[in-house]
Amino acid sequence: MKKNYDVIVVGAGPAGSMAARYAAVQGVSVLMLEKDRDVGYPVRCGEAISKAGVEEFIAPDEKFIASHVWNFSMTSPDGTEVTIPLEQEGYVLERRIFDYELAKSAANEGAEILTRAYVYDLILEDNRVAGVKYEYRGEKHEAYAKVVIAADGVESRVGRWAGLKTHIHFSDMECCVQYTVSNLKVDPNTVYFYFGSHVAPHGYFWVFSKGATTANIGLGISGTVGKKRSALSFLQEFMEKHHPEASVLTQIAGGVPCSITLEKISAPGIMLAGDAARQVNPLSGGGIASGMIGGSIAGRIAGESVKMNKPDHILSYDKAWADRLGKRHETFDRIKNGIYNFSDEKFNSIAHSFAKVSPDKRTLGNLFRTALFNNPSLLIDVAKVFLK
């Protein structure tokens, strides 16, 4: 096994693969380590993303698109449903194929990939990260690198070992569980969201179709709710009530860190990307596109730093991320906090008001304006992120 690399990436999800690719494309040597046996599996994700979010990094291909999304449906606690046509197409992905393709795109630029390679510690030298220690098929190895990019997901332990504060407050952790089910009827071009204390308090319940008879059905609730009741119990109740006919193909749990980005996402010798850096959109909980963006910026800057032989250049990553998306996520976070404590009555009244809006005026921006009409400062935030 090779001992020295320019860049080592920990984790081969979308953020890790993009970090590896954007570093490798500059001609520097890259090793990407993945703890699981397969890239892209197990899938821990609702798998919805905007078309634009995909296109920035890979040409959309039907082999990893389970369905094309044109409509957003919101159901309030009393069962009122409002449907909003999306201004931009979305996809529900097959992540196991999508992630694999992303990893391939990194490999095609020259990145080496090892799966079943579990990073259990960092090598620290002179107060900087100098490499990783990992287990690969029962044997311990060490590898040195000029830059380590930690894209190790929601756990984000690698950053901790470097002294970064990565642990997330449990109220910001959306604790999720999802079934992929078959034998149910849903519109293949609509993503469904359900709100309210009986389905997903301090979170939402989703039904993302993957074709005419298959869907990802799941929910996320805040850790504060989880104190009293688990996500799984909400899911079981919903399925019994709404889709008793459905057969469950898989069950998966997962955590989505719905907060603003960590205060520091780089330190000497190390950068964080994706869920590990808390680069998830805190309002939607979507993290595929933002993770790829974070990873690509990290990879680009890591490669530049190696080529210029300027180790401190990686510290410019924090600002580059903030300018591209980090500040926008702060706006999303304020909106999230504005709607976080909405009562069932409030969700009902939003749905009732919005049901009166003529279909051509139904946009996500207008929905949030309806929801936050008596909160002027947040209306400005809504305008910032939803209106162009």
């Binding site: 997901g153 756990e155 999720c176 850790g223 989880g226 104190k227 997962g254 955590g255």
Partner: protein, 77 residues
């Protein structure tokens, strides 16, 4: 038992169990653990006894109820 009381039990006997047979290895608990006290590999998970302060955040954040207080603690979920 309140969070504060549990904190007082720092360095006391480990009161939290993860049921590995039921675990999905999703990492929620690891992300919220303030003490980096949970080891998670591909399909292996355990609490690092000497780091755990019984703060219970992992219990609350587990989506599928596989982290519990053991008989020395209190079942909350």
């Amino acid at each position: 038992m309140s969070e504060k009381k549990l904190r007082m039990a720092k360095n006391a006997k480990l009161m939290i169990d993860i049921l590995p047979d039921k675990c999905d290895f999703c990492g929620c608990c690891v992300g919220v653990c303030p003490d980096d006290a949970i080891e998670l590999k591909e399909a292996e998970i355990y609490i690092i006894d000497e780091r755990c302060t019984n703060c219970a955040k992992c219990v609350w954040s587990c989506p599928i109820e596989v982290i519990k207080f053991n008989k020395d603690g209190v079942y909350e979920k």
